[in-house]
């Protein structure tokens, strides 16, 4: 087995730095366009606050924060699934999802900071989370909202922050356990570490099953405070999972093209492709299950969510492009065996899915926060690129810290001879 280590070259670091700078320039250009483009200070009926260009930056901050946190969590979850199911095929590539976990600690800081920024730093008393508005809870007051006041037991700042910190502590703790055990296996060998990893992985999966749902309610669903959907936790999870798998596949293909992972076979890629294919369908299934019931029952307090998106000039196209990019395109392209085994198809589909699921989160968060003032422009592209460059930087740095291929993994032989 090769002892090769991934080297995060100065050249790659420089490229990422340039990408970050370019992204910042894009954001600045986007802000200038929005601030001086004549649409800077329009009244927004939907939000009830005066719109300011900074609101749009904050909303993007939150979208990307949630999106890349999900991709990072998917890495850890994927690893945990491999151990819990005693999978052998993935042993050769397991360091890549493992490296995704390196972003979690940064995501923790980013989430705390951006939560503060998007809710309390905005001009004109902007709250990304509508329920943070104190006047909603003053009984008899002008803004009193009985529905939101009824949710106060769950949606209040203290409990919200406690949950936020608790999720991250649990996730990071479990990731550290898994990571340390995996590194110990490199040095000492034996199957004792593998058995311990199975236990940690199972615990993580159970914890994640609950926390991914509640985190989705907290951070995404509560943006539309009145609205609710019992499918939402699953919906956010499936979106995260496909995006994470695509990011993982892209990085694996990139590493291969850089001359690493020389024993990676088309069978490994085939399995990754199947994962992406299957979970694209899973996402579409969840998407449709949520949509159909609301469409059929036709209860105004539920349909408002889709009315805001379908009957609006800004968001209708995103609504349809979401289904096209995340279901129809991957479904048709990844259907054949060949497309899952050749990197060119995987590269195209994975990139499309990553863009598609960014739009998915955009569509979940923007209409409820920016209303008519939302749009897709340089700010959106720049912020997403900035986060992507930062995420890739952290992942590659984590990847360079340990041997690229796990040493002494008991399933390694099976993985190297994986043949389907």
């Amino acid at each position: 087995m090769s002892e090769d280590k991934f080297v995060f070259t100065a050249d790659s670091q420089k490229k990422l730095l340039i990408a970050k700078l370019a992204a910042i320039v894009l954001v600045v250009v986007g802000i200038l366009i929005v601030a001086f483009g004549g649409h800077g200070h329009e009244e927004s009926e939907a939000v009830g606050h005066h719109y300011h260009w900074l609101h749009r930056v904050w909303v993007n901050l939150w979208i990307n924060n949630i999106y890349f946190l999900g991709i990072s969590l998917t890495g850890v979850l994927f690893l945990a699934i491999q151990y819990a199911s005693q999978a052998g095929w993935s042993a050769y590539i397991k360091r890549i999802p493992e490296a995704f976990g390196g972003w979690l600690i940064f995501a923790f800081g980013l989430t705390l900071v951006s939560f503060g920024l998007v809710n309390f730093a905005g001009p004109n008393h902007f709250h990304l989370f509508h329920w943070l508005d104190h006047s909603l809870y003053v009984e008899g007051g002008e803004n009193y909202d009985a529905v939101i006041a009824g949710k106060q037991g769950y949606l209040n700042l203290t409990f919200f922050l406690i949950r936020m910190v608790a999720y991250f502590i649990l996730w990071i703790m479990m990731f550290r356990f898994i990571r340390n055990e995996s590194l110990k296996e490199d040095s000492f060998g034996g199957d004792g570490h593998w058995r311990k990893l199975r236990v940690y992985s199972t615990i993580f999966i159970i914890l994640f099953a609950i926390t991914s749902s509640t985190a989705a309610w907290d951070w995404v669903l509560s943006v539309d405070t009145h609205w609710f959907s019992t499918m939402f936790g699953w919906y956010v999870f499936s979106s995260w999972f496909v995006a994470g798998l695509s990011a993982m596949t892209l990085i694996i293909i990139w590493l291969r093209e850089q001359g690493y992972l020389m024993q990676l076979s088309s069978s490994h890629l085939h399995d990754l492709g199947k994962y992406i294919f299957a979970f694209s369908i899973f996402w579409a299934y969840i998407w449709f299950s949520q949509f159909l019931l609301i469409y059929y029952a036709n209860i105004p307090e539920e349909t408002i969510y889709f009315v805001e998106r379908l009957k609006s000039g800004q968001y209708a196209w995103v609504f349809f492009i979401n289904i096209l990019l995340n279901f129809i395109f991957p479904f048709l392209v990844l259907m054949t065996r060949d497309s899952k085994r050749h990197t060119i198809f995987l590269k195209i589909v994975c990139s499309v899915i990553l863009v598609g699921h960014w739009f998915d989160f955009y569509l979940m968060i923007t209409p409820g926060t920016l209303g008519e003032n939302g749009g897709v422009g340089f700010i959106e592209i720049g912020m997403a690129a900035l986060f992507a460059a930062g995420f890739i930087f952290v992942v590659l740095r984590t990847l360079a810290k340990a041997p690229l291929v796990a040493q002494n993994h008991p399933m390694m032989e099976e993985s190297l001879h994986h043949h389907i």
């Binding site: 159909l292 469409y295 036709n298 065996r337």
Partner: protein
């Protein structure tokens, strides 16, 4: 002497040996009719030079047919032939048709695939099976060579099969 309906049957006791034998026999320019084994032999498809099955294509076609049928049926029935108001929706509206379309796509795709497989494999009722050696369901592997497919004569083929490590080389014909 006619070679019609005459087979040379090599009997092997080990799956690795069969894999090697298949390669050697094919390298000698002999066409193999079929290999039988009590359990799947890894890599035998490649060794036999089988092309990839076209079954997925048939499945896709049947699936597309199912989808088309389902949508046509529903739009015609609900939108034109027997209009009913359900939940205040339009007579012809796509979302409620999706579950039925999905089910019919899957149903026709699955049934069509089974049917295609049976036709392609000649699996029909009352078909008399060709059993080259009864021990293929027990502990022996069998390579069957159809004499009609090959230019070499019986003795030459038997000699090559014997050289690849066959425990027995038999001749078999069916009524």
């Amino acid at each position: 002497m006619t070679t019609e309906n005459k087979y040379i049957v090599g009997v092997y006791g080990d799956d690795d040996l069969v894999l090697k034998a298949v390669k050697n026999i094919r390298a000698a320019g002999i066409k193999i009719h079929e290999v039988f084994s009590p359990f799947p032999i890894h890599g035998i498809d490649d060794a036999l030079g089988y092309k990839r099955s076209r079954l997925p294509k048939a499945a896709f076609m049947f699936g597309a047919l199912g989808l088309t049928l389902a949508l046509t049926m529903q739009f015609w029935m609900m939108g034109y032939d027997w209009q009913m108001i359900i939940g205040g929706k339009n007579f012809a509206s796509l979302p409620p048709f999706i579950p039925v379309s999905f089910e019919l796509t899957v149903l026709l795709s699955a049934l069509g695939m089974v049917g295609t497989f049976m036709v392609a494999s000649d699996l029909k009722p009352y078909r008399k099976p060709k059993i080259f050696d009864i021990r293929i369901t027990d502990d022996k592997h069998v390579i069957a060579i159809d004499l009609a497919d090959n230019k070499l004569n019986k003795q030459e083929i038997s000699k090559i099969v014997a050289q690849t490590g066959a425990e027995e080389v038999n001749e078999k014909s069916f009524e």
